[in-house]
Symmetry: C2
Subunit: 169 residues, 2 copies
């Protein structure tokens, strides 16, 4: 069964983490909650807990078929983790799924994978995305090769349709 | 596009409402948040807001192709709404989808649709389900004709797979 890392940290957006998590399960993949290793359990913006299944310090990108980065303010913490950035870079370089929604693209910026790529994001961080060289598009889901991005929780159905199309291609 | 009512009230479980909502959208259905009409916006157990799209007082079961009842403690409020119970009964009698997860079967009990039916529920309400004549099974998703039930948030992938199989049959 294909393993997909779903990054988690405090202040994650509850739906942007759990919708992909359960949707991947439904489609026959094995989502794994990969945290920064700072805690055993992280709390969403509204204190919904999520247990870390694997610490990024113990995670090997070679064992995974892709990564999903949820939004909320968690990406602000995730982008400080060198291990998480390396994990994203390795997935990206190997042509594996790299997906991010809402504020998730902050992690893609710091992992330096956005330059020249079509992508989207939460409106608040468009400047950051463009400054990183991303070709911003205002669409519910943008796919550029193995890169999938979306804007907000309302885009989750389109986001996961795009994610699964990349995983199943 | 087929409309599916997703019942909402205060203290709903965030994932048991929003996962089905977005998953139905992804599959090409039109989910509609139908509330008791007591408020314009309801708060989940952890205060995640959900706006009522239609009040049950204005909803006509004939316009819908089924109903999903999420869990949390919201079903304790929903089962007090005679309009919601009638809506469920009418869907059930017309052979349309009637789906409930976790504490959602409380609404099915009060709508008197469980007697003699294979079903499951949150462990805490098994006695209520059995006393209502339900044939309890401990499984992630139980389908009996147009009736779909599941036990907990962890069952969401199996729950929605079963819901979609009924809708698409």
């Amino acid at each position: 069964m294909k393993k997909i890392a779903v990054f988690v940290e405090d202040m994650y957006h509850e739906l942007e983490l759990w919708y992909p998590y359960y949707r991947l399960q439904e489609a026959g993949f094995q989502p794994v909650l990969v945290g920064t290793g700072d805690k055993k359990e992280y709390l969403s913006k509204r204190d919904l807990p999520a247990k870390e299944e694997v610490s990024i310090r113990d995670a090997n990108a070679a064992d995974y078929d892709g990564v999903v980065v949820p939004g909320g303010f968690a990406p602000d913490k995730m982008r400080r983790s060198k291990e998480m950035l390396s994990f994203v870079q390795e997935c990206f370089d190997d042509g594996k799924l790299v997906a991010a929604i809402c504020h998730g693209p902050w992690v893609l910026i710091s992992a330096r994978v956005l330059a020249g790529k079509k992508c989207t994001s939460c409106a608040a961080i468009i400047d950051d995305v463009v400054n990183a060289g991303g070709k911003f598009e205002d669409a519910e889901a943008v796919v550029d090769g193995n890169l999938v991005t979306s804007r907000s929780p309302k885009d989750l159905p389109a986001f996961m349709k795009a994610v699964l199309s990349v995983l199943q291609s």
